[in-house]
Structure formats: structure tokens, C-alpha cells
Amino acid sequence: MDEEFGQFVAARGRALCRTAYLLTGDWHVGEDMVQEALTRTYLRRRRLRSADALEPYARKVLVSTFLSSRRRLWHREVPFASVPDGSSNDQLEAAEDRYGLWPALLELSARQRAVLVLRYFEDLTEADIAAVLGCSPGAVKTHAARGLDRLRKSISLEGWTR
């Protein structure tokens, strides 16, 4: 691995892991996906225009890896060799369950979740999200609206009126 790419990974790898975690709902699966995305990015880095293009490209590969993994039938299957030793994670258990929003987020369709993560966590514009997902900004708006609508219906906030 060359030095420039190493610096990029050291600087931005963690941020990509955070995004991947929100997409997959599992830190380790997310990390694995980030490694996959970074490997592909590394192998194609010479075709990118500049070093600044590394992160958008890696993010694009990450999201497309996530979407294609979700498209496959086996995405729900947990390989039996990967059963974690611990049954629960104290810190995650302790995280506040905000109106059941997290499970609702995980139940959104892959595209809806990807759009919401890119929009509300990465703070990307609709045009940028469209570029990442390879669709039109209109489609991004639709996915975001439908995703938020499903979340509204799912969460158990008392007195929620919107």
C-alpha cells in the first residue's frame, strides 16, 4: 500500500466505518465492508483524477457494496461460524433507545437507509447523494421522503402528530 493511500485510510477510514455501521447496523460487518471498499478503491486509485477523489469514490463503492449485499437472498443469513461470543454489548444496550427509532431505521429498505444516512449523517446534498447512488436527485428525494414517512409511522413517540 502506498504512503498517500495509507494516509487517506488513517485519516478517513474511521469516518467510513461510521457510515458503514449505520448502513449495516453492525460495527464489524461495517468494518469488513469498508475494507472491501478501500481495497477496490486502492486497486482503481490510478484511474481517479486526484487524491481528493479518493473519499467520494470509496464512499460510492461502500454504498454500492452495501446495496448489492442486501440485494442477495442470503443477506439475512448469519453464517454459523460468526456467532459472536458475547450475547450483548453493554454500551450499545445502554445507548438510549430513542422512541424505537434505531430498529425502525434498520427495517427501512437498503436504498432508503442509504439515503437517510448520507443525508442526515454525512450531510451530503441531494445531488451528491444522487451521484453516490447513481440515480436522479428526484429519486433521492422520493427515497428520503418515503424513509422518513416510514420512520414517522414506526416510532412510538407519544403525542407525535406529524
Binding site: 500500500m1 495509507g6 485510510v9 488513517a10 477510514g13 474511521r14 466505518c17 461510521r18 455501521y21 449505520l22 460495527w27 464489524h28 468494518e31 469498508v34 475494507q35 472491501e36 478501500l38 481495497t39 486502492y42 486497486l43 440485494r71 442477495r72 437472498l73 442470503w74 443469513e77 453464517p79 454459523f80 461460524a81 460468526s82 456467532v83 461470543d85 458475547g86 450475547s87 454489548n89 453493554d90 454500551q91 450499545l92 445502554a94 445507548a95 438510549e96 430513542r98 422512541y99 427509532l101 434505531w102 431505521l105 437517510l116 444516512v117 442526515y120 449523517f121 422518513l148 420512520l151 414517522r152 416510532i155 406529524r162
Partner: protein
């Protein structure tokens, strides 16, 4: 901006912060260093795979360039094997052919060419000549993605529920094991093996040959009920970690302060008794399963961990036995890596001594070692 958007934003940030803290606790120090190390390894593997693919394609092109003109020039019809039609597996070949590797899941074992990949699901990769799926009853072998380009050969061992009623179908016997042929997708050969509680399936030109290697797995031999195998007189007894066990006298004995390897019996030192007193788990996060088989990669051996690092979560126990008065709980959850993990609860020790037994071969050696475990 409305309230739901704020909520989503806040929820995501909170979740990420909690997950990051949890990940940092699990792997203290050097998160990005670990990422870099793992990534470097993955890139290396990807490069090798690319190079191999390129070499294979060149070889195919070269072979085609040489053989095609010869075939056209030859007067007779070229002898070309046609695709193998699904039919009964010949009840022969109990041995693993040279260059093939054994691979087991649950109570069953098959052999396949050692350059095949091992997976827990369908693999969309045309660059490999074949792959073996080790899964369970819910593992799907059907590919619905039209862009999925699979290898020409595939075999699978899928665990079946033990209480499943025997299917109706034509019966056959492979290497002395009764099997029931069941309907499958076109091109697949598929058998339920009631005595081993698995379904084995294969497709491609090597389907029949692979299924003809069906055998009992070493694990099923080790855990089968029945009398213990007597310890041969020339074996050597070891006393370590509050237990006593026997192993072949020819095996090397190594003291180690390392615990935690990536590939189970794949990285086990062959024919070695490793006695570990490690206090900390060594090694990085490892791949879940070996992705390329290799002849002889599974080894016979024993690793005994008596240090603080050698731990087994009780949730992983698949069963417990009384062995010469001590309680031994075993787990085959990393069986894909060719190991049987045994936690031996010894009186007076605050944590069980962990014994890892390599499950290569026919399982007789492993069963003898397992049965020899007892108090000192």
C-alpha cells in the same frame, strides 16, 4: 428542518458514538492501525487473485491457441467429454483423491479440489473453478441475481434439523452411507443423508466425483456414542493446566505464550502438542472461514490453554460430557476451521482449561485424545 429529521440525526450520532466506544473497548489501542494492517493483507490477497486470474486467462488463451488448430487439423472427431448428466453417484472412492482437500460440516465430510473456495453462501465469482458451501437448512443455493456469474462447479453440505422426517425418494448408498436422492434444481445432484443429518448437493462437471467422496466427518467420529477408544500403549501422557491427556508420542511438544490463531487447525502446527500459558489473546480479527482449501491444510494436533487468555463462552457449548470424573463441555462452532474446542472444568481452578483438538484425518486420533482427558 422538522422534528423527525432532527431525531434521525441525533439517533444516528448517538448510535455511532456508542458503537465506536464499544469497538474501542473490544480492541483497545490502534483502531486505524488495525484497519491499515487488515487492509494491507486484503489488498495483497486481491493482487494475488488478480495476478492468478490473469495468468489463468493467459494459460487458457495459450491452450486454446495451441489445441484449436490441432483439433481442426485432426481427421477424427475430437474426444471431448460432454457435460455430466445428473445420475446416481457411484458407490466408490472413499479416499480423497490426490490434490483434493477434505471439508466437513456437522457429521458429514466431502472432498473437493484444493483450489476451490469455501463459503457459507453462494459465491458470484467466475474466476474460481469451484466452491463448497457449508451452511445450514436456511442456506439458499439458488441465485436470483442475473448478474451473478458462478464458478462452473459447486458443492454444498447443508445441516438438516435432527428431527426432520426422512424424505421419500430413491435410495442409494455412498461409501456405505445410505442416502436419499431428492429433487433439486436443474443441473444439481442432491441427496439427503438421514444418518448424518445433512443435505449434500453438487453441480457442474465434478458433481458426481465430489459427492462420491461423502464420508463421516471426524467430528461425528469424536462425538459418537460408544466406548472410548483405548489409548495406545506407545502414546505419551501430558499433565498441564490441571488435566491429563494423551497424544501420540511422536508429536512434538511446544510451550507457548500465544493464544488465538486465525485459522484454527489450518494454522495449527501439525502433529504438535502446544501448551499455552498466554495471558492475552494474540492475533488480529480473523477471517471467519478459510476461503481457499489446500491439501493438508487441516492438521492433527492439540493446543491446551491454561492461561487467562484461553476462554470459552458457555453460550458456545454444544454439549457436555463427564470424562474420567471431570466435566468437559465442547463446541464445534468453529468446526469449519477444523477444531473441536473443549472446556475442561477442573476442581480448584477459577476457569476451565481449554483444549483444542485438530480434526484432520478420520477422527480416530482426535477421539482417542478427547477420551483420554481426565484429572491429573
Amino acid at each position: 428542518m422538522n422534528d423527525i429529521e432532527d431525531l434521525v440525526r441525533a439517533e444516528m450520532r448517538a448510535r455511532v458514538a456508542a458503537a465506536e466506544r464499544a469497538a474501542a473497548d473490544q480492541r483497545p489501542g490502534g483502531e486505524s492501525a488495525t484497519l491499515l494492517r487488515d487492509l494491507a493483507r486484503r489488498i495483497r490477497r486481491a493482487r494475488i487473485r488478480r495476478r492468478l486470474t490473469a495468468s489463468a486467462m493467459s494459460a487458457v488463451a495459450f491452450a486454446a491457441a495451441v489445441t484449436l488448430p490441432l483439433a481442426l487439423l485432426s481427421s477424427g472427431r475430437a474426444a471431448r467429454p460432454g457435460p455430466v448428466k445428473p445420475g446416481a453417484v457411484p458407490p466408490t472412492d472413499t479416499a480423497t483423491p490426490r490434490g483434493w482437500a477434505r471439508l466437513a460440516n456437522g457429521d458429514a465430510q466431502i472432498s473437493a479440489p484444493s483450489d476451490w473456495r469455501v463459503s457459507t453462501r453462494v459465491v458470484c465469482d467466475r474466476t474460481v473453478s469451484g466452491y463448497v458451501v457449508l451452511g445450514n437448512a436456511s442456506t439458499s443455493l439458488i441465485v436470483r441475481n442475473p448478474r451473478c456469474r458462478q464458478a462452473p462447479n459447486m458443492a454444498a453440505i447443508l445441516l438438516e434439523p435432527r428431527n426432520r422426517s426422512h424424505p421419500v425418494g430413491s435410495t442409494d448408498v455412498i461409501n456405505g452411507i445410505p442416502v436419499v436422492r431428492v429433487p433439486a434444481q436443474p443441473g444439481f445432484l442432491s441427496y439427503v443423508v438421514p444418518t448424518l443429518h445433512v443435505l449434500v448437493a453438487a453441480r457442474g462437471p465434478l458433481a458426481s466425483r465430489v459427492l462420491a467422496t461423502l464420508a463421516r466427518s471426524p467430528l461425528s467420529v469424536v462425538l459418537a456414542s460408544g466406548p472410548e477408544f483405548p489409548v495406545p500403549p506407545h502414546w505419551r501422557w501430558h499433565h498441564f493446566g490441571g488435566i491429563r491427556f494423551a497424544a501420540p508420542a511422536s508429536w512434538r511438544v511446544e510451550r507457548s505464550t500465544i493464544w488465538g490463531n486465525c485459522r484454527g487447525a489450518y494454522s495449527m502446527n501439525p502433529r504438535t502438542v502446544q501448551l499455552s500459558t498466554a495471558r492475552k489473546v494474540s492475533g488480529l480479527r480473523c477471517a471467519l472461514t478459510p476461503d481457499v482449501m489446500g491439501p493438508g491444510t487441516l492438521h492433527q494436533g492439540v493446543i491446551v490453554g491454561a492461561g487467562r487468555a484461553a476462554r470459552m463462552d458457555s453460550s458456545r457449548f454444544d454439549g457436555c460430557r463427564k470424562l474420567h470424573g471431570v466435566r468437559a463441555c465442547y463446541s464445534a462452532s468453529i468446526y469449519q476451521e477444523g477444531l473441536l474446542d473443549v472446556a475442561v472444568f477442573v476442581h480448584g481452578r477459577h476457569q476451565p482449561t481449554v483444549v483444542q483438538i485438530g480434526l484432520a484425518g478420520n477422527g480416530v486420533t482426535a477421539r482417542t485424545i478427547f477420551g483420554s482427558i481426565g484429572p491429573p
